[in-house]
């Protein structure tokens, strides 16, 4: 009888532990997936910042608002060696983060170029007006 009770107790203890352990393990597994994805996204966003700012400044300068649109629509190239040995969640996050951040940065720099171009044209316009005004006054 005693042995039966001890066995029962052992089974109950194991079941109780499993009831606690399984949700904890599932939560940890879920956290690991989330962590991998978020890490990939952060790394992608960080790397996406280092795309060619001067190039996009020139695009915005030359093409104006169209350059800004192109900057946002054209995705940057992903450095492939970043993805070697990484999990699916990391690759998913990285490519999204790199692409979105890179596009944002491209658009921002293109906008800067567009603004420079606008300022340049304004200055040119005023110089032309001033020159024309100076001529008519003679």
């Amino acid at each position: 009888m005693k042995r039966y009770n001890n066995a029962n107790k052992a089974i109950c203890l194991v079941l109780a532990l499993l009831l606690v352990a399984v949700p904890v393990m599932a939560e940890q597994a879920e956290k690991a997936d989330i962590t991998d994805y978020m890490q990939g996204k952060m790394d992608g966003q960080r790397d996406g910042k280092s795309s060619s700012e001067i190039l996009w400044l020139a695009v915005g300068f030359l093409l104006g608002p169209v350059g800004i649109l192109i900057g946002y629509l054209v995705p940057p190239t992903v450095p492939a060696d970043r993805l070697i040995g990484k999990s699916t969640e990391y690759v998913q996050g990285y490519t999204e983060g790199y692409q979105n951040k890179g596009k944002q940065q491209n658009a921002i720099w293109a906008a800067g170029g567009c603004l420079l171009s606008a300022v340049g044209w304004c200055v040119y316009y005023f110089l032309v007006i001033a020159a024309a005004a100076a001529q008519t006054s003679y």
């Binding site: 280092s50 795309s51 060619s52 700012e53 001067i54 995705p75 940057p76 190239t77 992903v78 450095p79 492939a80 060696d81 993805l83 070697i84 040995g85 990484k86 999990s87 699916t88 690759v91 998913q92 490519t95 692409q99």
Partner: protein, 230 residues
């Protein structure tokens, strides 16, 4: 910007100098701002001129197939894959730094670089190569150090003369008729971040028949594929 330039230049360094199939095991250690070291192990299958297939065994089971502007990343255990189409070719700097050494000057002359300076320091021959005019504003000189007719290091500078990357080669081993380094270490100065990478190569096999599943690599049916276009 420096990393893009570094990758673009490295991608031009003659990969076609190895004209035979190559299989080599690798162990890659990468350190950057993040704490800890990223360690990756696997096998590289190279089929000239452009096909590279990597079987990663640690830390994940992963297959990567590079072919010019297409990269396929396949996870056999999860039956998931990413197929990425880019507008420019994918580059693998760590592998190209390895196989570029079949050409003594790393193919720089063929790329339009000209030798501007050469001097001997002890047992090391230091040569300085300046870029062609079309890329002079983007990249600076490349400095190569050679010991006993083998490349010991390659250093790349930006147009202002600041070092943006350095690759060191050691533990040379003769494979067929060529000498290849079994250890390649690289430092890349990328803005505020610096990355340190060391790759150990082992069991290299040149001019071998690649396995059919490598030559005819395809994503198995039933795999969840995410298509990505750049």
């Amino acid at each position: 910007m420096a990393s893009i330039v570094l990758c673009l230049v490295l991608s031009q360094i003659l990969i076609a100098e190895i004209k035979d199939n190559l299989i080599v095991n690798f162990s890659r250690l990468l350190t950057n701002k993040k704490p800890g070291v990223d360690s990756v192990k696997g096998t590289i299958f190279y089929q000239p001129p452009n096909d590279i297939l990597i079987y990663v065994t640690e830390p994940v089971n992963q297959h990567l197939k590079f072919n010019d502007k297409t990269l396929v990343i396949y996870y056999p255990d999860e039956k998931k894959a990413f197929r990425i189409q880019a507008r420019v070719p994918f580059v693998l700097p760590f592998f190209q730094a390895f196989i570029s050494l079949t050409n003594k000057n790393l193919g720089l002359a063929e790329m339009g670089y000209t030798l501007s300076q050469s001097e001997k320091r002890g047992d090391t021959l230091i040569t300085r190569w300046v870029p062609p005019a079309r890329i002079k504003k983007a990249v600076g000189p490349i400095i190569i150090g050679m010991v006993n007719d083998q490349v010991g290091f390659m250093e790349m500078q930006n147009s202002k003369g600041r070092t943006i990357g350095r690759v060191s080669y050691s533990d040379y081993s003769k494979i067929g008729n060529i000498m290849l380094p079994m250890r390649v270490s690289a430092v890349r100065y990328l803005g505020k971040d610096t990355t340190y990478e060391t790759v150990y190569y082992s069991n290299p096999r040149l001019n071998v028949k690649l396995p059919d599943e490598v030559v005819n690599f395809q994503i198995p049916k039933g795999t969840e594929i995410k298509e990505v276009s750049w």
